[in-house]
Every structure is written in C-alpha cells, then in structure tokens.
Amino acid sequence: MRSFYNIAGQSIEVELLRRAASQLLIYNGEESTIAIKALGDDEYRVTVEDQSTSLFAIQQGDQFFIHLNGNNYQVDCEDEMQSASGALSDEDKVVANAPMPGTVVAVNVTAGQTVKSGESLMVIESMKMETTIAAWRDGVVCKINFCVGDSFDRQAELIQLEE
C-alpha cells in the first residue's frame, strides 16, 4: 500500500508491504523491516530493523499525533487521489449557461461590477426550484443577457464575466 503523509509541511511517500511477522517499509527507495506492537492506552512499541522504541500515538480523522522521546509530532494523512489530481478549475470559463429552461427571478449584479467567487449573480426558476447562478471565479461582470421575468432555453448564455 502506498501512503502519503505530511510532516511539518513536508510531503512524504512511503510503501508498506506485509511480511510474515513484520512489515517492510520502503521510503526513498530504502527498505527496512518494521514491527508495531500495541501496548494499550495508545502506547506502541515500534521496532525498525533491530532498534526498538516506544511512542504514544492517537488518530483523529486524518491526523495522527505522536509523542516520541519527549517531542510531539503531527502527521497528516494525504489522500492519494487529492495528491495525484490537479484541482478542477473554472478559471478560463467566461459565460454561465442555463442548466435547464426557465425564467429569471432575480439579477443581483450590474454590468461592470466586480464580483468574488461564490457571489450570487442571478437566480433562475425552473420546475418549481430556484437555482442561484454564482460567480465561478473572481472577475468583472461584462454582460447580462436576461432581465427579471425573461424566459430562456437550456444552454442559453445567461451572464458573462470579463476574460
């Protein structure tokens, strides 16, 4: 199993392979045999090769807090997919298209106005539900194609932000 952790701002990648009585840890291409024994009350005896030490560890969600030799460490687990994937970005998108036919209930901005990501630009109604068209990025509103009460078809270009 390949795991990703973050210790003091530094990302590390380790592989852990199951062996008969112990586990094989691969870090930076180096292999070491490790064994972990729970001693109760969050205390563990960790043996790396022939070196043994005991430490305290607790897990809270994705974080581990480790007490070792009088020092405290925080280890954050990183999701494999999160570290592998690039964030989806709407940075280049210019226009909001209507997800379905409907009518405009409210227009909350005017052309030329500067908006922040997440701010409500327009509210539309379709099939008894009101949907907010929110700014998908920071930008300046350059074109509003419909007024309150106007109806539109699916994929209609509702509102535009400057490129």
Binding site: G61, D62, D79, M81, Q82, P99, M100, P101, G118, E125, S126, M127, K128, M129, E130, T131, T132, R154
Partner: protein, 535 residues
C-alpha cells in the same frame, strides 16, 4: 476515500436565517413527540396505578438492554386524526435491543382509551409486522388493548391491509422461522386474542392479563353466562388449563424479566455480510444541517453538503461526477457500513435518470444498500425532453430502483413531487425504512401548480356557460386549493397517515440509518434481477 470539501459559510446571513427556521422546526417536532409520548390527563395515570399497571414507556424501558438505542417508529402517527385523541396511534413500535438481539417491538398504550385500536393503529401494526418480515426481525408484543375502536370498525376490519393482515403477517413470520413473543399485560380481546395465540412464546400476568375471544359483556349478551375476566381468560386458566399461554407471572416486572430470558434463548441469525470498515464520525458537524437546509423549499442547494454531515469521515466516492449532475450518486460508509447514496441536485433529466439507473445496478451487483436523499420536483417536462425519451429514461430509473434486491432506505429531506417520488424510492417502493425531515413536503404536484390547473379547468367550464370571473373570484378558487395542499403536503400529515416511518430531527439521520442498516442485514440479500428496460 476522498473527503467532501464543504463550500458553505455558516456565518452568512442566509445560513443564520435557515438555522433559526430549522431549529424552530426541530423544537416543534420535539415538543409534539414529547406530548405524544407523555402528555396524558392525570386521571389516566391514576387509573393505570389503580389497576397495578405500568405506563407503556416504563414497560419498554424494562424490556430493552440498558443504554442501547431504541429507534421508535411513527411516533406521530394519527397526530392529525381523531381530534388528536390517539397519540402515536395508541401504540409504540420500534427497533430495539433485547439481550443483544435486534428485535421489533409493539406495545399497546392502555393510557389512551384502554389501548383501543383506531384505524391508523391497525395500519401501524401491519406496517410494524411488514418491517419484521422484510428484515427478519423477531417481534415482542406487549399486549394491553381493549381491541378495535368499535365506532370506526368499518375502517379497520375487512380490507386487505386491515385487521386480518396483522394475523396473516404473524403467520408468515412464523413460517419464515422468525419467533414472536407476546407478553399479556392487559386484555387481549377478540382479534387481539390471536396475537398471543399466534406467537411462539407468551407470558401472562396474573390478575391483570386476560385473553379471550369475547369479553365478559359479550359472553353475557350472547349466552347469559355471568363470569369475571380472570375466570374467563386469566393467567391460571390459560397457563394451567387451556395451554393458550406459556408462562405465568405474578407482576409486570416478572413478566418482562421472563420475556428477556425467553429472547436470550432465540438463536442468533447470521447476518448478511456487506462491506464494512472501522467507524469514523463525520468530519463536518451534523448540526450544520440546520444552517444548510433552506428556509424556502424552492431554493436549490448542494446535496453533497448533506451527505458530508451524514456519512463516516464526510468521505464520498462520487460516481460519474461530471455526468447527469442533477442526481448525485456515490459510495460512502454510515456507521462503517458501505452504502450507495443517491441525492437530488435538481430536476431529473435524461442523463441523471440513466446515471441513477446504472448506479443502482452497480449497488445490486456488489451488495451495497441504497440510501435515497429525496428532494425532487420531478422529471423534466417539455418537448425537447420528451423527444429525447425522458419518460422511458425515467422508467428505466424506476425499474432499476423497484427491482433492487439490496436494502433501500429513504429520507425525505425536502420536496417530493410527482414521479420524482417514484424514481427516488417513495413509500410505494418498499424502502426498509422511510423517514421524513420536518421541513419536507410531499404531493403529486406543487400546490401553486395544482391551483393553476384547477383554475384553468374551472374557467374553461364557465366559459362554455358564458360566465367570466373577476380577479377576486379566481383568487377565491385558488385560496382553498392552496390551503388544502399546504396542509396535506406537510410532513406532519404524511407521518399522521403513516406514509413514512417517522419524522427525524435531521441530526439524528446518521444514527437512525445506522440502526436501520444494521437491522436490515438480519435478512440475506438475494441474487440481483431486473425486469425489462425500455431502451
């Protein structure tokens, strides 16, 4: 599994408004439940005391394992019927734990009209037994009922799902090998007498318990014989002479202790194994549900925000995240149990219907129970969508849903309108359990749309007669329709009619689903199979 990233800002003004509104709904719910459970005239408590009987809630406390959860069902059944005179439809039902075994419990409430069954009591009893059959749960009956409430007999006796169904269901359970136990704590008269008689085991309390087909007044009227209830069908008669009951007890406490001992002898069923992992609390605080659910049902919001506050670690492996985006599908864990979740993010289109149909097939293939978070105004209407086959795509979704063999659970978290109710596993589709949130609404179409349709019809009728109406007259037609829709689409109406298994405080959703999933695994999951899909 990746964690959902929440995008809400709980300090925003709209969230504060939502929170105020939803907390008010929660408080109303809690107060209604408290009343249904405990609000009785003092004279009723005094009468129970005189009769040497415990209040039904105390009986249940004695029966259950201490400190274990009890999932009470339909606590507000009949809240809109019989002038509110039948709190919880005069009986308690629910899933609890007795000597480590998950059991279904039915307990008559003798503090209300001697525990007489109203039509909705019968419906609740039949539903309770249906749940036992569907989940293979042993049943414990705490019997103390005067029998059917005679003035309303035409509404609970003769039809398919009326009184006879109670006994039919009891027989079916027995045939399936699922044991039932009756504890006779009061009278079991007429039909009610068959409850202990059809149970595998029964305990009867000396002095207060009695079982007979006709009580002393009926016997006197029929044959002139004058006899006391105890002589006619009391503890000693049935445990020593007739053999109708098994174990005598000298007090309610002893009877319930005996019942616990009997349950401890039940063989444990090996539960169905589904994917399971260590439990993790949600990363996002479930109490933020009050901030997220909009004050106005019409406002669309992201159902992932709800999922993040219900599932383990707020982790969600979303299926087809870029396709059919108005239906969110994906895998998650609830109390460690793997589930497939379907939640609405808008109206159902062709693509979202197909996505839902396929996702449910996947869940059937890998034995994953389904959880539906229903907030749906329906399938999309209009020429473009009909051309694209919205009706046949919706039919595929309904077919896939209806034929699913994995346990299904439904939570009405918002609106439930039209065929959307069907696609998303409404009451007609045998969810193992179906819960509502206090803000939820159900109807065949929205109130305003129904009013418009009815006004249109009325106007065209009148036009033929040469009559035209002014604005006020039209408003006068609309108003009562709107009011009736408002009233009848309300969650309290649904739960009163037992269209659901109870209204939940939203933050209890995770725990309720956890208990429901655990209970559902008492029944093994069959091999998947579907009907024909129209392509």
């Amino acid at each position: 599994m990746q964690r959902i990233i929440s995008h809400i800002n709980t300090n925003a003004e709209s969230f504060k408004e939502n929170s105020l509104y939803n907390l008010k709904l929660r408080d109303e719910l809690k107060e209604k439940i408290r009343k249904a459970r405990f609000d009785r005239p003092q004279r009723d408590f005094d009468r129970l005391k005189r009769q040497d009987k415990l209040f039904v809630r105390d009986r249940i406390d004695l029966l259950l394992d201490p400190g274990t959860p009890f999932l009470e069902l339909s606590a507000l059944a009949a809240n809109r019927s019989y002038d509110g005179k039948s709190p919880s439809a005069s009986m308690i039902t629910g899933i609890g734990i007795v000597n480590g075994r998950e059991v279904m419990i039915h307990a008559d409430d003798a503090s209300v009209k001697g525990g007489a069954w109203y039509p909705l009591s019968m419906k609740k009893l039949v539903r309770m037994l249906d749940i036992a059959i569907e989940n293979q749960l042993p049943v414990i009956h705490l019997c103390d009922s005067a029998g059917g409430f005679l003035p309303l007999q035409s509404q609970f006796f003769a039809d398919r799902y009326h009184g006879g169904r109670v006994f039919r269901n009891m027989c079916q359970l027995s045939k399936m090998g699922v044991p039932q136990l009756s504890v006779v704590l009061g009278h079991c008269t007429a039909g009610g007498a068959y409850i202990p008689a059809l149970s595998e085991y029964s305990v009867i309390v000396r002095g207060t318990g009695a079982v007979f087909l006709g009580g002393p007044p009926l016997v006197k009227a029929a044959t002139g014989e004058i006899i006391t209830a105890d002589e006619l069908g009391g503890c000693d008669l049935h445990t020593q002479v007739s053999g109708t009951a098994d174990y005598p007890a000298s007090s309610e406490q002893e009877a319930i202790a005996k019942a616990r001992e009997i349950v401890a002898q039940f063989s444990r069923i090996e539960k169905e194994k589904i994917e399971q992992q260590a439990v993790e609390a949600p990363y996002y605080d479930p109490s933020e549900l009050y901030d997220i659910v909009p004050k106005d049902n019409k406002i669309q919001y992201d159902v992932r925000e709800l999922i993040a506050r219900i599932v383990d670690g707020s982790r969600f492996s979303e299926y087809q995240p870029a396709y059919g985006s108005t239906l969110i599908c994906g895998f998650a864990h609830i109390w460690g149990y793997k589930v497939g979740i379907l939640g609405n993010n808008g109206v159902l289109f062709n693509d979202s219907s197909l996505k839902g149909a396929h996702f449910m097939q996947l869940c059937n293939q890998n034995k994953t129970p389904l959880v539906f978070l229903q907030n749906i105004t329906g399938f999309m209407v209009g020429r473009e969508y009909e051309e694209n086959g919205i009706t046949k795509d919706g039919a595929k979704m309904i077919m896939s849903q209806a034929c699913s063999v994995v346990p299904k659970f439904t939570v009405m978290v918002g609106g439930s309108f039209g065929a959307g109710n069907y696609g998303m596993c409404g009451r007609g589709f045998d969810s193992r359990l179906l819960f509502s949130w206090p803000n939820s609404k159900i109807s065949v179409m929205g109130g305003e749309q129904a009013a418009d349709v009815l006004v249109d019809i009325k106007l065209s009728q009148l036009k033929k007669e040469g009559v035209t109406l002014c604005e006020e007259e039209i408003a006068a037609i609309r108003k009562p329709v709107l009011a009736e829709y408002e009233n009848e689409s309300d969650a309290y109406h649904s739960t009163s009619e037992i269209w659901d298994d109870g209204i939940l405080d939203p933050i209890d959703t995770r725990n309720s689903l956890g208990i429901a999933i655990s209970a559902s695994l008492n029944k093994s999951i069959e091999k998947p199979g579907f009907g024909t899909f129209r392509f």
